[in-house]
């Protein structure tokens, strides 16, 4: 039953994909290129005169993908690095900022969840800091840290800390009293109680927060790298736009999606591993 359902869903997905790509291909083929003689200044500026005028066809994007993915790690100068290298730069920034955030958010969240007093005391700070767009921190970070690399890591840190912090606090605070009582009647100390009862009990909520955080971090890194420049997938997109290479822009957009999906899937797997049914 579910198997045939899965199969039908897959078939439908493929049909939608083929139809969408077909429509895209057709629409780009019928596009009327403006004659070179009547081109305005603006059109020339926007690349109307180049070979790549207009939105590229999916076939062109696929060809580009083939080229790039067959040699993803080539490195021939600052403006010609393979997509693999760019993604690796972005991932490295995301993972270091994210790890730092986890290092702080998980223990602090634990503390807040355990102590209603700490929750009350820290709540105003969290409420004010949380809604700030992470990019708003960028100028301040650049000024204080004086280093673009560290600043983008800081931006990742600041955007991924909140969901982890709040989910950890919430998960820890809502651990069933019965389970804590089990720990108490077995004379477990505070550390053992934290690791053997509260952590596994709150793990599904905590991992949900971590999953939300990694998603946000991946969204933010693209924007941060567009601002800071140098390396990374965000810089790559912006650079290709400046080169008026829309085929590369579309290809890298797709790659951003694929990497984001992989990150989410990894945390989805972790989530399934720690989930329990009562």
């Amino acid at each position: 039953m579910t198997r045939s359902y899965d199969f039908r869903a897959l078939a439908l997905t493929i049909v939608i994909l083929v139809v969408a790509l077909g429509a895209w291909e057709l629409s780009t083929n019928t596009q009327i290129l403006p004659g070179a003689g009547e081109m305005t200044e603006y059109e020339r500026l926007m690349g109307g005169g180049s070979q790549n005028a207009g939105v590229p066809a999916p076939s062109a994007v696929m060809q580009k993908a083939w080229e790039e993915l067959s040699d993803p790690f080539h490195n021939t100068g600052a403006n010609d690095k393979g997509i693999g290298i760019q993604i690796a730069y972005s991932l490295m920034r995301v993972l270091s900022g994210y790890a730092l955030a986890a290092l702080i958010a998980l223990p602090v969240g634990f503390l807040i969840g355990m102590s209603p007093l700490m929750f009350r005391a820290l709540d105003p700070f969290i409420q004010v800091l949380r809604p700030i767009s992470p990019l708003a921190w960028m100028p301040l970070a650049l000024f204080i840290i004086q280093d673009s690399e560290a600043s983008s890591i800081f931006v990742i840190f600041i955007c991924s800390i909140w969901p982890m912090l709040l989910n950890t606090a919430f998960g820890v605070a809502s651990v069933r009293k019965d389970w804590v009582n089990v720990a108490r009647t077995h004379e477990l100390g505070p550390v053992k109680t934290a690791f053997q009862v509260i952590l596994p009990a709150a793990a599904p909520t905590i991992v949900t927060g971590m999953r939300i955080s990694i998603g946000i971090a991946w969204l933010v890194i693209v924007a941060a790298e567009m601002l800071v420049g140098g390396t990374g997938i965000g810089y790559y997109v912006w650079n290709e736009w400046n080169n008026l290479d829309l085929t590369s822009v579309i290809f890298s957009i797709l790659m951003i999606g694929v990497v984001g999906m992989a990150l989410d899937a990894a945390f989805g797997r972790l989530q399934r591993a720690v989930t329990y049914t009562e």
């Binding site: 019965d178 389970w179 009582n181 108490r184 009647t185 077995h186 009862v197 009990a201 329990y276 009562e278």
Partner: protein
């Protein structure tokens, strides 16, 4: 007279009620439990049985009074007092075996992993849970199986006192009977002391040496201590033909349906000092109430034939 194993002295629990008044759930609760005794407590819902048990476990603090076990005052939970909660309270992310091992590891921290596992297995075997069920998580077990895991965990830690809060409340009659028999067997083999809350009169008669009866709350108290003069081993089917059975049963039902409410309504005499609940033996041949001092483990004496 030697000091009883467990001594409950002047226990009271009050909650801050509305309008600044205090809501007294129970007060002046005194009773003793001897070593190796199986004591049940019965009373209407809300009279404070679970609260008393939580105080005995050390999970809750009384407003007044002290609990003494083995000559030491109870303060805070201890592995000497094993608890089987009404809702099993197994850790849902651990398998049945791991749940038992959790308790054993806490009790015997120096044991090797093999020894812990072996010991846990032995207790799971005792409750009949060793044919694959031990590797399942609580959510994949039936209510009765979960309850047995919970009992195995409590017994495996070999506490001096076992506290059971309506352990069979959620089970069907058939499962209930099986686990009751298992509980009796384990108790008789281990010689542990058991304090158990129940709503079921027949269950209490089957299991207990003595049944404590609580009057209705608020201001509830332990009014009577009913000695069950039915020899052991008791069998459900044979027990109901015993002459003492209906006398005891009628006494209990009468208390629950009529007198528990009357006691609650009657004015309280301000008796100072420690007033023990009245000991009654409705099942004894002679209907004379026995003096307090003579209370002994009834199944060792076996008064009725």
């Amino acid at each position: 007279m030697t000091q009883p194993f467990l001594e409950i002295d002047g226990l009271a629990k009050r909650f801050p009620g509305s309008k600044g008044e205090q809501l007294t759930v129970f007060e002046n609760v005194n009773f003793d439990i001897q070593k190796g005794e199986f004591v049940c407590i019965i009373g209407h819902s809300g009279c404070g049985k679970s609260t008393i048990m939580n105080v005995l476990a050390g999970l809750d603090e009384p407003t007044e009074g002290v609990v003494t076990m083995d000559g030491k005052e109870v303060s805070g939970p201890s592995l000497d007092r094993g608890v089987v909660f009404q809702n099993y309270s197994l850790l849902p992310w651990l398998t049945a075996l791991k749940n038992v091992m959790f308790g054993v590891k806490a009790r015997f921290p120096t044991w090797s992993k093999e020894k812990v596992e072996e010991h846990s297995y032995a207790y799971l075997r005792m409750v009949g849970l060793t044919n694959g069920a031990e590797h399942r998580k609580p959510s994949q077990l039936s209510g009765g199986m979960r309850q047995r895991v919970s009992i195995a965990r409590a017994f495996a830690t070999q506490p001096k006192l076992l506290l059971l809060d309506e352990p069979f409340g959620a089970l069907d009659a058939l499962t209930r009977g099986t686990i009751q028999d298992e509980l009796l067997k384990i108790w008789q083999d281990s010689g542990q002391t058991v304090f158990m809350i129940t709503h079921d009169v027949d269950e209490a008669i089957l299991l207990a040496d003595r049944i404590l009866l609580m009057s209705n709350g608020p201001f509830a108290e332990v009014a009577e201590s009913v000695v069950i003069d039915i020899p052991r081993p008791r069998k459900r089917a044979e027990m109901i033909h015993h002459p003492a059975y209906y006398k005891i049963r009628n006494h209990l039902v009468d208390f629950l349906s009529r007198r528990s409410g009357e006691i609650a309504a009657s004015p309280r005499e301000q008796s100072g000092g420690r007033r023990q609940p009245l000991t009654v033996r409705p099942g004894a041949d002679d209907e004379k109430p026995t003096p307090d001092a003579e209370r002994v483990r009834p199944h060792l004496v076996s008064l009725a034939g």
